[in-house]
């Protein structure tokens, strides 16, 4: 696949492709949130407050972005140990995020907000659920990055920087997406 890469360009084609994919995912969430606004305006809409788990998960995913960012910069600076530790931390925080989301859904269900109930609840489960699926994709990418970190010889090459960069970019994206959703859901109350 590397064969076709043209070195004249500043942005790597795979990174560009990832950005295009992120634009595409953003459109999907844009559609969900637009539908949310339209449906909310149409009435028959019950409000509810979020369980605390969701605020914790927001903090956790923000933190994981920070650790992953430093893991990447340590990788580039050839700091093998810090790079690996921070990568493990990021992966752990990423998994914690999904667990917290799950706990949040259970707490929400116990408060009586059911997927099948009022559309406002359905929308909440839909938005956070589809977002969680995208996070799982990011966790899978981080697991691959971990495998690279522990099975390959530590060697900072252009190719591996690019590869890791893709993971970092995507993870920041799902983080940003969650922040957007939280702000959107809080503002639209």
């Amino acid at each position: 696949m590397e064969n076709v890469i043209n070195n004249r360009n500043r942005i790597h084609p795979h990174k560009f492709a990832l950005w295009a994919a992120m634009a595409s995912i953003s459109m999907m969430f844009g559609a969900f949130t637009s539908a949310y606004i339209v449906k909310q305006a149409a009435g028959n809409w019950l409000e509810f407050s979020f369980p605390y788990e969701f605020y914790w998960s927001t903090a956790v995913i923000l933190l994981s972005s920070v650790t992953l960012h430093y893991s990447f910069s340590n990788f580039r600076n050839k700091e093998e140990k810090k790079y690996k530790q921070l990568l493990i931390a990021s992966l752990g925080l990423g998994i914690t995020f999904v667990v917290l989301q799950y706990l949040g859904w259970t707490a929400l269900y116990e408060r009586g907000v059911d997927l099948k109930g009022n559309v406002s609840g359905s929308f909440f489960y839909l938005l956070s659920g589809i977002h969680a699926l995208h996070v799982l994709g990011g966790i899978a990418a981080m697991i691959v990055a971990m495998l690279h970190a522990y099975t390959l010889k530590f060697n900072v090459t252009e190719k591996r920087i690019n590869r890791f960069d893709l993971v970092v970019n995507y993870w920041h994206f799902v983080d940003f997406l969650w922040i957007y959703l939280v702000i959107f859901l809080l503002m639209s109350k």
Binding site: M1, N3, V4, N6, R8, N9, I11, P13, H14, F16, A17, A20, A21, A23, S24, I25, M27, M28, F29, G30, A31, F32, A35, V38, K39, A42, N44, W45, L115, K116, N118, V119, S122, F123, L126, I130
Partner: protein
């Protein structure tokens, strides 16, 4: 690559091209060596293009055969259809006493639904843009392959998988989905709504989700390739119009298909998890469902936010192909190149803000409709710019009236005819009379169905030598053109009249309506031409497969004397497209009849004192 001698290489590319060290290392076995990786799991864009084309053709035949069956029902409702029973089985209901076989009404709806789904998505999206974006983007830009050949392969195989799922649904005992290709809830959201709404709809939605994945993988690749892998000198303003069209098409797909996907996710939640996004106040057999608070209009918004850009996803590639074919065979530069590019961009932008014109009559606020009417009618401006530029390109040209050129001219004719009726339908007031009638059917079939097919045919006849190293038969091609041209107008022209008289679309039979009964002869006329048209397309299919193996061989690299880079590659296609260096581009793609030279290819350097570009 050793079997390609230096003499065969274009001297200009050898001397002036640039070396990207592509051939320095051996690419090993993954691309070309054995049958499976050469023909099936190929990562070569030229092979993937042909895979898309042939799969699209198979779907086109299936979709067209369906239309013939439901046209038989509409044109000859009294005739016995017992003879199709061997194919359709229980869907032909034979009356025991008279022996007359009738098409089952629920299967009529399934046929109409499947015809729409197959033609819009599988044939005119995957078959058209999948084929030509794959073939031409790397070749015309001077790239070795797509940015990610692996994703490109996945794109085809997701499409193939989507096709398998849809094909399987045709054989369900409850029939495929039958609620219309737009899949509006509640017919699509409630499994108990009709026989096709159960498993048929489940498979329909699975198939289309796979299809969306295919489009996105392809689209991401096309955009990345256009922006990142152009050869030296190929600035955006030197790209052929084909590439501009594919590029904007891919952007439209990338931004609109995810919205369809979100609509589908919500639909799946409604179908399977008991939510009520799109459902409210539904009574089945006198019993109220417990689903409240949803809105079916919401689905329509999400669907048409894809649905409208989708028609441009279909027509823009055809426009690009036609622009190129017209210019090459008129031996003239395309008129108003920049205006053409700006109008592609304008159409692409406007396509996102007009979706509700599909919903004027479904309960949208009439004041909001005004906004959509205005933007819909504004699309006429860039469309007219394109039409006038095509006509001006033809004017005074040294026309070669071969098959690709005829189809390209036919495209312009169809686009004008179908575009003009769009001005009627774009008005929300006129739509009160016209909506859901045969006028709509006539409009969209001419402007995006037949026109897109004409663009596709122009492309296939024109680039067939590039795909297979042989030419298609001209005589059969001309029979194909005139047969299609005449029958297409004979089918859809009368539908305008039927539609203005208020005959609704999608009805199984008009026997019970006094108002519509006198259109029987017209319906017969349409059906006869639909059958003729179907057989004329078989001429094309025969010509296509015959020519792959027995067509006239291509003797020179550039048989049409065209300027674009794909005609500088060897006749026998190779992985990496160019045997040695990549060509370097010095001019735009339309230097025909310039300075007493008949044509000047893009990689020919400017002469001293020559003014380049446009």
């Amino acid at each position: 690559m050793a079997n390609i001698t230096v003499q065969e290489q274009d001297v200009l590319i050898k001397e002036q091209g640039y070396n990207d060290h592509f051939h320095d290392h051996h690419h090993g076995d993954k691309y070309q060596t054995n049958f499976i990786f050469h023909y099936i799991f190929s990562m070569d864009h030229k092979m993937i293009a042909r895979q898309f084309l042939i799969t699209g053709m198979i779907w086109a035949i299936i979709g067209a055969a369906m239309s013939v069956v439901f046209r038989l029902q509409l044109g000859f409702p009294e005739e016995s259809l017992t003879w199709i029973k061997p194919f359709l089985g229980k869907w032909i209901v034979v009356d025991a006493s008279t022996g007359i076989g009738k098409l089952a009404p629920e299967f009529y709806y399934a046929l109409v639904t499947m015809h729409g789904t197959i033609l819009v998505f599988f044939v005119l999206t995957a078959g058209l843009s999948g084929t030509f974006s794959n073939l031409l983007i790397p070749l015309q830009l001077g790239a070795r392959d797509m940015a990610s050949p692996f994703m490109n392969m996945l794109s085809y195989w997701f499409f193939f998988l989507a096709g398998i799922v849809m094909f399987y649904s045709l054989f369900l005992s409850t029939g495929p989905f039958s609620g219309g290709w737009v899949a509006y809830p509640p017919l699509s959201a409630l499994p108990q709504a009709s026989s096709g709404s159960g498993t048929g709809m489940t498979l329909w939605i699975v198939s289309l989700v796979l299809f969306v994945v295919s489009v996105l993988l392809g689209g991401i690749n096309y955009i990345t390739t256009v922006l990142n892998l152009r050869t030296k000198g190929m600035s955006l303003w030197r790209m052929p119009l084909t590439i501009w069209a594919f590029f904007v098409t891919a952007i439209l797909g990338l931004l609109s298909f995810p919205v369809l996907a979100s609509g589908f996710f919500m639909l799946v939640f409604d179908r399977s998890l008991g939510t009520s996004f799109f459902l409210s106040d539904i009574f089945i057999a006198g019993q109220a469902l417990d689903r409240v608070g949803g809105s079916p209009i919401l689905y329509q918004h999400l669907f048409w936010f894809l649905g409208h850009p989708e028609v441009y996803i279909i027509i823009l590639p055809a426009m690009g192909l036609v622009s190129e074919v017209l210019s090459v065979h008129a031996r003239k530069p395309i008129f108003g190149y920049r205006a053409m590019v700006y109008s592609i961009l304008a159409i692409g932008f406007l396509s996102f803000i007009v979706w509700a014109h599909h919903m004027f009559m479904s309960g949208v606020n009439p004041f909001i409709s005004n906004f959509f009417v205005i933007f819909t009618l504004i699309i006429a401006v860039p469309s007219a710019v394109k039409v006038f530029n095509w006509i001006t390109t033809l004017y005074g040209g040294n026309l070669r009236l071969n098959t690709p050129m005829l189809f390209a001219i036919g495209f312009v004719s169809m686009f004008i005819s179908g575009g003009l009726t769009g001005i009627f339908l774009g008005n929300s007031a006129i739509d009160i009379q016209m909506h859901d009638t045969y006028f709509v059917v006539a409009h969209f079939h001419i402007v995006m169905g037949v026109a897109a097919f004409f663009g596709m045919f122009a492309g296939v006849y024109h680039w067939f030598p590039k795909m297979y190293g042989r030419f298609m038969n001209e005589t059969l091609g001309k029979i194909h053109f005139w047969g299609t041209m005449i029958s297409a107008y004979a089918i859809f022209w009368p539908m305008h009249y039927i539609g203005m008289a208020g005959v609704p679309r999608r009805y199984y039979s008009f026997d019970n309506f006094d108002a519509f009964r006198h259109f029987t002869d017209m319906n017969k006329f349409i059906t006869v031409f639909a059958i003729i048209s179907f057989f004329v397309q078989l001429v094309f299919v025969i010509n296509f497969f015959y020519s792959i193996w027995y067509g006239k061989k291509m003797k020179t690299k550039n048989p049409w004397e065209a300027n674009t880079l794909e005609w500088t590659t060897p006749i026998e296609p190779i992985h990496g497209n160019w045997p040695g260096n990549l060509p370097v581009v010095h001019r735009w793609a339309y230097d025909y009849n310039k300075d007493e030279r008949e044509f000047v290819q893009q990689h020919v350097p400017l002469k001293e004192g020559e003014v380049g570009d446009h």
